[in-house]
Point group: C2
Chain length 332, copies 2
């Protein structure tokens, strides 16, 4: 068992695209747990678009990662040594443990994974983790999808979009995905079971008109940019847009302007932004509902696994450009 702890630190704040040059590796001895603490060996690290915001010191809902500090991120791993009564050696856990191979955590900050539920551990970073819970909140609480709604989601093959569309379809909506390229759009219809999926690399406006001939009732916004510009004028009266993220714009400084908002009056639209962290009760709800769907084979997901913590910076840069295919995790 390695005695060193490889860590990825934030080295500098990017202007525009982040890349490996904004991170640095550091090794230190693996830490030692004190009373109440647990030593965790990390198995998988989640990479998510929100991390771009943590690299910047612009005002945001969360404090930035300090220069020279370990990058923030959720991990699943295994308890190697426990000084907390709630955990034993061998327990599988999840927690916000950062981009590193090992960590010690107070037991109160870790969540134990269910035993023997047939769900791979990494799924607790994706379909049953933060991205899946985000999809659940967006579809049920923010958009309040109703049977018969035309529901559109961008980044439809991604960690959040893939789950959002499947939830909306179970709620009776007609579900249309937006994704980039033939491989992803085929996956969205054939594997995830969406009613349609359009390619934003083609003529998106015409494709949306064909897929949503009566307009769009609900839009789950993950990307911004030209996709948002194509969807916005196609919203129907009393339409709702849930703003989860706008990943296509995270590397643009200054951010581009948005749509003229007079359509909000004319069509009585509701636009609402949300963060899953404001909805603490949704985690348990979704892990029960989504977990049951998953075990009965009614919830599909795909992972894109990068190998080795040292490759996390490059994989993260690719995530912001849509190079991943499915939920991006790093096998540590």
């Amino acid at each position: 068992m390695t005695e060193t702890n490889l860590r990825i630190l934030l080295k500098s704040r990017p202007q525009g695209r982040p890349g490996p040059q904004h991170f640095e590796r550091s090794e230190e001895p693996r830490p030692t747990p004190r009373p109440g603490e647990v030593l965790v060996r990390h198995r998988f690290l989640s990479l998510d678009p929100y991390m771009r915001g943590r690299m910047s010191d612009a005002p945001s809902y969360a404090a930035p990662v300090a220069l020279g500090a370990v990058m923030e991120g959720e991990c699943v791993g295994e308890v190697v040594e426990s000084h907390h009564p709630g955990f034993s050696t061998g327990d599988r856990v999840r927690g916000a443990r950062g981009w590193q191979q090992w960590s010690v955590a107070h037991g109160s900050t870790l969540i134990k994974l269910p035993d023997q539920d047939g769900v791979p551990d990494s799924a607790y970073l994706g379909v049953l983790g933060m991205p899946g819970t985000t999809a659940w909140v967006g579809v049920t609480e923010i958009l309040q999808v109703k049977p018969g709604d035309c529901f559109v989601v961008s980044a439809a093959s991604g960690a959040v979009g893939s789950v959002a569309g499947q939830i909306a379809r179970r709620m009776g909506a007609r579900v249309v995905g937006i994704a980039g390229g033939a491989e992803k759009t085929r996956f969205v219809t054939e594997e995830l079971g969406f009613d349609a999926c359009v390619d934003h690399r083609g003529d998106l406006a015409s494709a949306l008109d064909a897929a949503c001939p009566n307009g769009i009732d609900c839009y789950f916004e993950n990307v911004g940019g030209p996709v948002q510009a194509a969807v916005f004028p196609r919203m129907r009266d009393f339409g709702r847009i849930a703003f989860c993220g706008m990943v296509a714009e995270y590397n643009q400084d200054p951010p581009p302007p948005g749509p003229n908002l007079m359509a909000l009056v004319r069509k009585r639209l509701r636009l609402q932004g949300f963060l899953v962290s404001d909805h603490p009760r949704a985690w348990k709800q979704w892990s029960e509902v989504g977990g049951a769907w998953l075990r009965e084979g009614g919830l599909r997901f795909r992972e894109d696994v990068a190998q080795g913590l040292e490759n996390a910076p490059e994989a993260f840069a690719g995530l912001l450009e849509g190079r991943n295919f499915g939920k991006l995790v790093v096998a540590i």
Copy 2:
């Protein structure tokens, strides 16, 4: 009693600013009521920003006024001849009777004004009419103002804004108006009792920072343009914006872009457009609540009265440029 009916017809559809050249006068014999109908002599015509939309044939929530047809608008007037059991000669009524001196209406389309309530008839076009009801819906249903909220309203001396601010203040908010020029801002604080009012003709950003040092919880949007651009970045976490109108942009074609919407996620904002016509129950509610406030002197309003129906086109053009001061009506 004049036997002719002066009518103002829509002559052409404006590109940009409307003016008298887009209207034409027409005289016809005054109409004769049939069974079930009522002959109404119009006393006051309401002029409202939404009418700009009716002059255009761009897609909207309501059909445009046809070229050559009488312009749409709400009137109050007096029953001169009744063939409907619900009305008698001398009754005061309101209804969507158009820009003309007389009309016949089926009794079912008219609303009788209360007798002897001490409220001037024209107030049923403003503070107790469509604009007042719009303010009531926006503040109570859309923004859901709470005690302690910092509430900002644009066009604060206008028909909707003046009422919205007074309602929000009764609900316990700190109320800041935005208006154009020293005379209007003074009216808003001294007559309407807002906590503060800032002048959008000055350095609006600094003035808003001073008036709302902790940011803005609720914004009642009437104008768009540079005012919207100044308010938007000052919204607080969980802020709400009710979109009632964007009068500063109605003569711009194409409409200008809006703000980048990533702030919706970061601050968990809710932006919602509304039309008073979607809230039929609010009319009775507000006429009871607002009527009581008005009779006890707790609701202030100001009217800007243009004299003569023939001057309605010029007065309407001024409304879109903020030349009115208070609710604009035409004394017919």
